[in-house]
Assembly symmetry: C2
Homo-oligomer: 410 residues x 2
């Protein structure tokens, strides 16, 4: 099934029924950097979220889980600069954030999805958040300005704002899906990732919204690794206002499949953006493993390659040292026959085959260097068995990754 | 049980009955760099080895496995500069290495332990190795010169030669144990590690030698991570000449326990040396997790901390960002209660407690910076449950790691 998803401007306010805002409330020292984001729907929404599998979970995750038990929500509120994880009064402060927003927005506190991102282990400066709430609410905007501010307010070490919106047709009706994301470091999602907030005007039941989100995240955001560290605050959440006017999706029918495909398309593009803007990264590295007996094997082998420090450093140096891919697959914990492996590299600068049937090919080193100097590298590996395949998304390991993480709190 | 293990000079030739040598045969371009090492016993030895668990295994590993089926060997031969993994004629060339050495030494080819280390995927320049064999055999030396040359010949990106020898008493007899090792990159041993070659004059049966080696490696070399990449060529091997004159260890008695303790002591010191000299490393990072219900839990949590890129970069930057330790434990896949975790950092410059019962402590940032600027950092974590503990060994993540691995083949 192939559908047309057309890019539109507007980010999370592109779908009907959403306003957004972002302000600087004083968590971050830099007063130019927004650190508090809000997305609000005009009506109650079907809502769903997936969360980090880290055993250490930030306080707001627990609060959001409870708030989403009924599959309904109205707003998303997130701060950057402080993770509210392993911090004094964590849950109390997450509840205070919700209470302050509820009062200002005149909605139930239980209808708020809350999260935080930033340094672990420091008390959330709740007073500053409470004090900024009137300003944040007053700044709500159904135009692109609000969505832009919200997207910027959740950024941490991200260098690029991550925002997307697409429209597609559902039973003759135009439906829109928007999203913002932040990533950069501590990125090795597992069941959820980083912060990603979706909005849509699609009419869809909460249960199916949850299924579609889980499925989409599994093959997109869960296939990103910047540094192998699964964060304590990962969350992907979605609000569906139903204001597009489509027939409510209440079963896993054709409309559901299209909606799920739109969500997967959007999440996959964000996954690539997150990898491309990984801390210190100079390039996006996509690893496709094909010829597997099943998708899980392909995913595991591919993830091991994109996660390998040695592969990542070689990508930075544009060094076609393919033995590192072979080595990373070898310790991935999945079965394959090394003597049936073929590997090639490609980018906007061309393609070069480096290994066939497990042995090195004579290749032009200058050409390989040129290929690997591209900004988007595909490591294409076939393990020569079945027809299953999987792609995962990573980046190179650079001096800047070390610099950023050697002085993160400074 | 506590024993006295006294350091002695001599490396792998310190035990009675061993000669060693190392030469440059032309695998490495730099003619100053020795690339071929040989250790030979004066008599047939009890012998054992443990190997990498990487599914992709270098050709010499298969050959050595067959040669050690009878628990006997006479010599160890290893080259650096080429891994003979995923390479044309791999096994044939590993056999040719053994044949050439056997002819020169007048011993059976099946009595030779063979391995390689270096770039994966390139054909072993077997002709150069064969041509250098007479020179290598002629250079054999029972004095420290030979051991030193062998230790240097197996180095790859190591910056420091790794060599150790200790003596201890066994039933009134002095027994000696020597070892050389190489590590540096692609280091995340699993069941074996890097290249480590032990020699001893202890009289011990092959089966018990194998058990003692496996046990020692499990709590030492298998607890090292430089970059999380388990190599295709990892091997730890031991030759026991029996020439010390002790009563043959043929059962798991008191003598066996002392011998095993000596091997564990030696392997643990080498593990620390390997971590300290990890590619680009400026410091040794030891993580001790205590208060666990069982050792496996402690080991898993500890290994997750020493393997985390974010922890490693923070150690480089001397940043007491302890949330990263907490986060790394959270995704380790072992159970613990975050609210019972305490964390402190120490080094030669002092100690600083940063987290108690899962929450941050107010600590002096200047003092923490001073502590973490030490050359040997202990991350001391208690999870507040049982009495089991484990230490693992790592290093910091630095600009030089990126530099070395961005241009490894150049």
């Amino acid at each position: 099934m192939s559908h047309v998803f057309t890019d539109v401007p507007g980010g999370v306010t592109a779908p009907k029924g959403f306003r957004a805002s972002g302000v600087h409330c004083g968590i971050r020292k830099n007063t130019e950097k927004k650190d508090l984001a809000l997305i609000v729907a005009d009506c109650e929404c079907a809502a769903a979220a997936v969360y980090t599998t880290n055993l250490v979970q930030a306080a707001p995750i627990a609060v959001t889980r409870r708030h989403l038990l009924n599959g309904r929500a109205r707003a998303i509120l997130a701060n950057s600069g402080n993770a509210n994880a392993c911090a004094a009064d964590g849950e109390e402060n997450a509840l205070r954030v919700c209470a302050a927003a509820a009062k200002e927005l005149n909605i139930p506190a239980e209808d708020i999805i809350v999260n935080s991102t930033g340094v672990i282990g420091q008390r959330l400066p709740i007073e500053r958040i409470e004090a900024a709430m009137p300003e944040l609410a007053a700044a709500l905007d159904a135009g692109h300005g609000g969505a832009d501010a919200a997207a910027r307010a959740i950024m941490t070490t991200d260098t690029v704002k991550k925002e997307i919106a697409v429209t597609f047709e559902l039973g003759g009706v135009n439906v829109t899906l928007g999203a913002i994301a932040k990533g950069s470091g501590m990125v090795r999602p597992n069941m959820a990732t980083v912060l990603v907030f979706f909005t849509t005007d699609c009419a869809v039941s909460p249960g199916l919204l949850n299924d579609a989100l889980s499925d989409a995240v599994k093959v997109s955001l869960n296939r990103v690794s910047v540094d192998g560290d699964t964060s304590t605050n990962d969350m992907a959440a979605i609000l569906a206002s139903g204001m597009a006017g489509n027939k409510l999706i209440g079963a896993k029918n054709g409309d559901y499949e299209i909606f799920r495909a739109a969500l997967t398309h959007t999440a996959t593009r964000l996954a690539k953006e997150l990898a491309r803007d990984g801390e210190g990264a100079t390039k996006l590295v996509v690893c496709r493993v094909s010829g597997a007996d099943d998708e899980q094997t392909a995913e595991r082998l591919s993830m091991s390659v994109t996660s390998s420090s040695l592969v990542k450093a070689a990508m930075f140096g544009a060094d076609a040292n393919w033995g590192r891919e072979m080595c990373a697959m070898g310790y991935a914990g999945a079965r394959f026959d090394p003597s049936r492996v073929s590997i090639s590299f490609s980018s906007g600068n061309g393609e070069v085959a480096v290994c066939q049937n497990g042995c090195g090919l004579d290749f032009d080193e200058d050409k390989a260097k040129l290929v690997l100097s591209g900004k988007e590298i595909l490591i294409d590996i076939s393990i020569g068995r079945g027809t299953a395949s999987a792609e995962t998304y990573g980046c190179d390991l650079t001096y800047d990754y070390v610099r950023i993480n050697g002085e993160y709190r400074s």
